[in-house]
């Protein structure tokens, strides 16, 4: 039935749910329940991650087809099936999700003290929804997972968040829902015109241009909010600032990728002409995002907000890369997504380390941390460099490829993306200087403890990944290069067919 010999993707998707059920049945004293919930969640997510490594080793990189495919009829009357599979685009995101969640659980080990059981349940449910979304090969199934992510995330922000958590949770939920329901209409329309919701079958279906435009706009409403693209990004800084550390990590690491993934999975292959038609529009929005949010980031006083704005800027690079429609651009976009998932997740963890100790995210509250916490300062610097896209760290290959791809389309677009890299260096270094260097101005900072063993264990995999992705990107690029080249070819074929038609 598939390369693993058993329904691997379903197990990956629903194993966390089993863990969540076990945690829900825990009874007893509150402290004991909390400890058991932590360990159960950690083991569940670690086992899930261990199983997902099968994907890393057994994935066939020489084909663009879906692999590990499973298919069960779900609503046979409507032709909707429960179809799971991964291809070059999605496989690494599944791994990213399963890798980040154990780290999040470790990061919340001590910082979350109230309602630990519910917290862990929410995270495991979130993991189920994320993995399911990246594995879904059916539009309806994709939508179900895509939307269901909102429920646990709403609760995570709202229950365990900061002072303005209610506002942030609402804003996150309603913004995303508004975009998604329009996508739902587009999905239904697509379904009726094509007669199927299977993604591979839909890719072979030709949609008239006028309809493509409408469908593109509806998908755009959903994905642009999720990415988030300027000017619908305003929910992100609020959600990031108020979410607990681990919530921010997942938000930046995985949830932001859902929008860009949607563009790659649906907009480009299903609506090639409309994508090309709207590409200049996307370029403009992306460059505005890169430049404007970088400048906004420079002015931030709150560390989390600064990193949140930097996420918007990085995602601007990603959308730019996707809509170049060439091999370098799309590969660069995918790589930037992965790198950003690791690096910005790690940066939020870095902020979390300070926040756990001082309970403040004000940049001015700190200074001279490097003298007090040298190991922490080193780790923080590495991820700062990763975010700046210093060659040798994870950020570089992706952004470089995107700029290359953009240059092939239009040098001015490439210039806009490159400005973002310069500004990125400015705000990240500015942040790092103010936090880590300088005199220790506040006495209470002198008593801070350096990283604990648990924190070392949390950061170690991320450090490894950041360096690995920077030094030998090929081991990641090789996963998706065949899929991307096939995507580029079919896009060009569709465009040629369209222009021939126009020529007639």
């Amino acid at each position: 039935m598939n390369a693993a010999g058993f329904p691997l993707l379903s197990i990956l998707t629903f194993l966390p749910l089993v863990g969540a059920l076990i945690i829900m049945t825990l009874r007893g004293e509150e402290a004991a329940v909390a400890a058991n919930a932590r360990w159960t969640a950690l083991w569940t997510s670690l086992i899930t991650f261990g199983l997902s490594l099968i994907l890393w080793f057994r994935f066939d990189k020489s084909t663009a087809d879906f692999q590990f495919v499973e298919r069960v009829d779900w609503l046979p009357e409507f032709g909707i099936s429960y179809a799971m599979g991964v291809d070059g685009i999605s496989v690494l995101f599944v791994l990213l999700s399963t890798a980040l969640v154990p780290l999040c659980i470790m990061a919340s080990w001590e910082s979350v003290q109230k309602r630990v059981r519910e917290y862990m349940v929410a995270f495991l449910v979130l993991l189920t929804m994320m993995v399911g979304m990246f594995c879904a090969m059916d539009l309806m199934l994709f939508y179900v997972f895509f939307e269901a992510v909102l429920i646990p995330m709403f609760l995570i922000i709202g229950v365990w968040g900061g002072a303005r958590r209610v506002y942030a949770a609402y804003k996150f939920f309603l913004y995303t829902l508004l975009g998604s329901v329009l996508m739902l209409l587009a999905i239904i329309a697509l379904w009726f015109s094509a007669g199927t919701t299977s993604i591979p079958e839909l890719a072979e279906f030709d949609i008239p241009f006028a309809m493509q435009v409408w469908l593109f706009l509806a998908f755009f409403a959903s994905f642009a909010v999720k990415v988030p693209m300027w000017p619908v990004h305003t929910w992100l800084p609020d959600a990031h600032v108020e979410a607990p550390t681990a919530g921010s990590v997942i938000l930046a690491g995985v949830l932001l990728k859902m929008g860009a993934y949607g563009f790659l999975r649906f907009s480009l292959p299903l609506l090639p002409e409309a994508s090309a038609y709207f590409a200049p529009f996307i370029y403009v929005l992306s460059i505005v995002a890169v430049v404007y949010t970088s400048l906004v980031a420079l002015a931030q006083q709150d560390m989390k907000k600064l990193i949140a704005y930097s996420s918007v800027a990085h995602m601007g690079i990603v959308t730019l890369g996707i809509f170049t429609f060439n091999q370098q651009g799309i590969e660069g976009a995918l790589f930037t997504m992965l790198a950003h998932g690791v690096v910005s997740g790690a940066l939020f963890l870095c902020v979390g380390v300070l926040y756990d100790r001082v309970h403040s995210r004000e940049i001015l509250r700190y200074g001279g941390v490097a003298k007090i916490m040298p190991a922490y300062a080193l780790v923080f610097m590495l991820f700062t460099m990763g975010s700046v896209a210093l060659p040798g760290t994870a950020g570089f290959p992706g952004e470089f490829l995107v700029i290359l791809g953009a240059w092939a389309v239009n040098p001015w677009v490439a210039l806009g993306a490159a400005t973002g890299m310069v500004l990125g260096a400015a705000y990240m270094l500015f942040l790092y200087r103010r936090v880590a260097f300088g005199k220790v101005t506040r006495d209470d900072l002198r008593a801070l403890l350096d990283l604990s063993p648990r924190e070392y264990a949390t950061f170690a995999p991320l450090i490894l990944l950041t360096l690995w992705m920077g030094l030998y990107p090929q081991s990641f690029l090789s996963f998706f290069s065949v899929t991307v080249s096939q995507m580029v070819n079919s896009h060009q074929a569709a465009m040629q067919a369209a222009s021939r038609l126009a020529g007639l």
Binding site: L75, E77, F145, E147, G158, V159, Y170, L174, L178, L184
Partner: protein, 473 residues
């Protein structure tokens, strides 16, 4: 004369009379055994409905088919669930009079007559048999001025609706020459059959039924009656009578008036749009959870009407699926409302749920499931309900309706989320009183249905499809 067609109704009527007599005779309080007997009678009627054959009886005035079976089972289930929820609450509020279950039983009988009506006269009879017990029930807490006001208000407006219905029926009779649905269908499908008089009559009939399902612009009574009536009565109001009235609306509009769809479709479209938008916006400012649920139910009726406006096989099936899922979600949510008692007193503000996530995690979880489901978030049942009415709307090109529907569901998500927010995010108030067993049973059943519907949607879809096939053949 095929009297067996009405066997479930006859059994129910006999049971109601017998239970009423049996309840009067003993000196002591008989509420509990009477309620159990009523639930038993409903179960019996349900079994009889399932075993029943198809056909028409009483000179074509009465019809039993898959459609009526589907709707009757739904109405019986809703009524039985609301009785189950009501027992403990009524006892604690000093309302444990044995007439309560009997009145619910009689109203249910009225619903079943409505659902099986195949003639404008039967329709009216069923509607009145439903409405009279409802007026009494709304005023059941007779020492409470709010309850009395609710009863009176409902009675006055309900009488107006009955008048409208009779006037419409007489116009239709006058211009078409018959009140029987089958003959009406023949008459109206003939060339020039749908004269202006008939159309005016149809409009009056639709207005009367729209009043019963509280669709905009005939919704004004809903928030006041929902708020004033005892919560157990509101739980009953919000589900079972709506099932019957929707069933009737579907049968009348898809059956005899099916050929005049061009005339009434715009009315239903407007009522649907109005209900969805009003249900979404008016609930935002409510602090009383019963009023909030009243507006929420108006919104749901708007969605149901969307399926009716689109019509056709898939549209009507969407209506049936929607109403079935609505009954489950709604009964579950009202079970929580009934359980809202603190220190021996019923509380009904949204803020009274504060911190329920800590004090009663299971009930809070169930309520959160109902709220997310009503907001239409997958994979909960409410999403599929909305999906099955959106599908035909998009297929038939009702873009305005579909777009307004999804946007209003986003707006309504705001107030559903507010309940989740109050339960999980806010500081905890003292715990609510322990929830009674009846509430727990209903919560468990409806909660599991709402959560796991996505795994087994086929039986409900197949039943709805069969029901619609019986209707439009």
């Amino acid at each position: 004369m095929n009297w067996q067609i009405a066997l479930p109704e006859i059994v129910l009527a006999v049971c109601a009379c017998a239970i009423l007599v049996a309840g009067v005779i003993p000196k002591r309080d008989t509420t509990f055994p009477v309620a159990m007997a009523c639930i038993g009678a409903m179960l019996l009627a349900g079994v009889l409905v399932l075993m029943q054959g198809e056909g028409t009886g009483f000179g074509g005035q009465y019809v039993a088919d898959d459609f009526s079976a589907f709707m009757k089972i739904l109405a019986l289930a809703a009524a039985a669930l609301s009785l189950l929820v009501a027992l403990d609450w009524n006892a604690k509020e000093g309302l444990n009079r044995f007439e309560f279950p009997v009145l619910v039983l009689l109203a249910t009988l009225g619903m079943m007559v409505m659902i099986s009506a195949n003639d404008l006269m039967t329709l009216y009879l069923g509607l009145e048999l439903l409405s009279l017990p409802l007026y009494v029930l709304a005023a059941f807490d007779r020492d409470n001025p709010r309850s009395a006001e609710a009863g009176l208000k409902y009675f006055v407006l309900g009488a107006l609706a009955s008048g409208l219905l009779l006037y419409g029926a007489s116009l239709v009779y006058g211009f078409a020459g018959t009140t029987n649905f089958d003959r009406l269908a023949d008459a109206l499908s003939a060339e020039g059959g749908a004269s202006a008089g008939v159309v005016v009559g149809i409009v009056f009939i639709i207005a009367a039924l729209a009043f019963k399902i509280s669709a905009v612009p005939f919704h004004m009574w809903t928030p006041d009656v929902y708020e004033g009536a005892p919560v157990t009565v509101t739980a009953f109001f919000s589900a079972a009578p709506k099932v019957a009235a929707i069933a009737l609306l579907v049968r009348v509009l898809a059956g005899p008036f099916g050929d005049t769809a061009g005339q009434w479709q715009q009315i239903i479209v407007l009522a649907s749009l109005g209900s969805m938008v009003l249900g979404a916006f008016a609930a935002i400012g409510q602090s009383n959870i019963k009023r909030l649920m009243a507006y929420s139910s108006i919104g749901h009726v708007g969605f149901t009407l969307m399926g009716l406006a689109v019509g056709g096989e898939s549209g009507l099936r969407g209506v049936l699926v929607y109403i079935a899922i609505y009954v489950a979600m709604n009964m579950g949510a009202f079970a929580v409302l009934v359980a809202m008692r603190r220190g021996g007193r019923a509380v009904e503000q949204v803020d009274d749920l504060a911190g329920l996530g800590r004090t009663d995690p299971m009930m809070a979880l169930a309520m959160a499931v109902f709220m997310f489901s009503m907001a239409g978030i997958p994979p909960l049942a409410g999403f599929f309900a909305k999906l099955y009415v959106l599908l035909p709307a998009v297929e038939q090109g009702f873009w305005l309706l579909a777009t307004v529907a999804v946007l209003s569901s986003v707006v309504s998500a705001y107030y559903y989320l507010r309940i989740v927010k109050v339960m999980y995010f806010d500081a905890a108030l003292p715990a609510l009183d322990a929830r009674p067993a009846g509430v727990s049973v209903v919560l468990g059943a409806t909660g599991l249905f709402t959560t796991f519907f996505f795994l087994f949607p086929a039986p409900l879809l197949a039943a709805a499809r069969q029901a619609v096939a019986a209707l439009i053949g």
